[in-house]
């Protein structure tokens, strides 16, 4: 809890300002994609989700390991907060991706390696949160979830290899994987960067809020235990 006031004073207005700028760029300023039309605009938001998602899941892995080693509640709170937010951003990323894929790829879903990998990750971290809420005791749930968090990261490389080999053997449903990445206009690249930054700051802000909520919850529990 080092100087929370300063960051708390700067972060929210910064998030709001940059988010408004991102919305302006995405919906008004950036030129419409020549091939894909207006639907391409969701791509900026879609990409922005992944930065936060993968940062969040990386934080879960590191926090889980540190919790198992150090056993301080701070790492547990961090892992939990990051898992919740990672799942949120991952869900939004999958949803925006599907909305984009339907007109462009003509299907909501393909078993593309990246999609498969993301879906498996989604399931692992959904199980992570479920495990916490279903554990017999919260203390135990934290340890068990940390084990799952570490296992998830360790497994990541294997899942990655498996889904890539799997799809390279089968014929791809959609051959054209070009769409969406060819950002011709420099303004498109700028929009992407600003949008990613905006959502990443939202992620950091929510992470701070969630951490504070967890700390307060702990304090309440302690007080309640004292009174009882």
């Amino acid at each position: 809890m080092r100087s929370p006031d300063l960051t708390d004073r700067i972060l929210p207005p910064a998030v709001i300002a940059i988010m408004l700028a991102a919305l302006y760029l995405v919906f008004v300023r950036v030129p419409t994609d020549a091939f894909q039309g207006p639907v391409q605009r969701i791509f900026y938001v879609h990409m922005a989700m992944w930065l936060s998602t993968f940062t969040a899941f990386a934080i879960v892995g590191v926090a889980s390991l540190l919790y198992l080693v150090k056993r301080t509640p701070h790492w547990d709170h961090l892992g939990r907060a990051a898992a919740e937010l990672g799942l949120l951003f991952c869900t939004l990323g999958l949803a925006t991706g599907s909305i984009w894929a339907k007109p462009i790829w003509n299907t909501w879903w393909t078993w593309d390696p990246r999609l498969t990998l993301t879906l498996i990750l989604w399931m692992i971290y959904a199980a992570y949160l479920l495990l916490r809420s279903l554990a017999n005791e919260p203390q135990q749930g934290a340890t068990l979830a940390a084990i799952l968090g570490v296992s998830g990261v360790v497994d990541l490389y294997l899942i990655n290899r498996a889904v890539y080999w799997w799809r390279s053997i089968h014929p791809a449903v959609i051959v054209d994987r070009q769409g969406g990445t060819g950002l011709a206009d420099p303004l498109m690249r700028a929009t992407l960067i600003v949008t990613m930054l905006a959502f990443f700051l939202v992620f950091l802000w929510l992470l701070r809020l969630r951490l504070r909520a967890a700390r307060l919850q702990d304090a309440v529990d302690d007080l309640r235990a004292e009174l009882a």
Partner: protein, 219 residues
């Protein structure tokens, strides 16, 4: 460690309940999944390895739940933990016992699979053996660890597959893909990358389980 392994094997030999359950459930899944495919369709042959692996995975999940539940009744786990052995050794013994049970079930299940899908017996068995054994070892490792985890939760029967199956995704993909290629007549070298992946999975989760089991069982 050997003592725990022998204890589990002895219990099983006397009751035969895990093995019987594994076998019947495996058979049931083979049959139920066969309903999903038109018996005349070539699709059925293509789906055969998938059916076998689904049977292995779901029967195995239930078997591993049982193996750890048995330790909970009468506080046997407590006794095991009080014994002067490394927690990692308990994990390895349990995982090995689960591996042996599942392998024993396969001795019957794979011929049944051959029978239902009208495959050549000897070539199918010899070709699938390395894939199935490597797959079962990794499955036993990850399953034993998360069976112990789910033991500590409410709704534990549901928790085990939820925790384990996403993590086991590479194992399931590798197992099915390698089996499909081998049954289609590919040489063993053609599936070497899948076998490597299975071996890597086995190694990773045996080590993770061995290291993490201490945290799982602590009070």
């Amino acid at each position: 460690m050997l003592a725990i392994l022998l204890k589990d094997l002895r219990i099983e030999l006397r009751t035969k309940e895990t093995l019987a359950a594994l076998l019947l459930l495996g058979l049931l899944i083979l049959v139920v999944l066969s309903f999903a495919f038109d018996p005349m369709s070539p699709l059925r042959e293509a789906a055969a390895p998938g059916v076998l692996w689904v049977a292995v995975v779901f029967a195995g999940t239930l078997g591993m739940n049982r193996s750890l539940l048995r330790e909970r009744d009468n506080d046997c786990l407590q006794g095991l933990l009080l014994a002067p052995v490394d927690r990692g050794a308990i994990f390895l013994a349990k995982a090995l016992a689960n591996f042996l049970f599942m392998a024993a079930a396969q001795v019957v299940l794979v011929p049944l699979f051959v029978f239902f899908f009208n495959l050549p017996l000897v070539t199918t068995v010899t070709r699938l053996a390395p894939v199935v054994l490597l797959g079962l070892l990794g499955f036993a490792a990850v399953g034993t660890m998360f069976a112990a985890v789910s033991l500590r939760t409410r709704a534990r029967e549901v928790m085990l597959p939820l925790l384990m199956l996403p993590l086991a995704a590479p194992l399931i993909i590798a197992g099915i893909q390698a089996s499909t290629a081998l049954l289609a007549g590919a040489p063993l070298a053609a599936v070497a990358h899948w076998l490597n992946l299975l071996a890597a999975f086995d190694a990773v989760f045996l080590v993770v389980g061995w290291l993490a089991f201490e945290y799982v069982v602590e009070e």
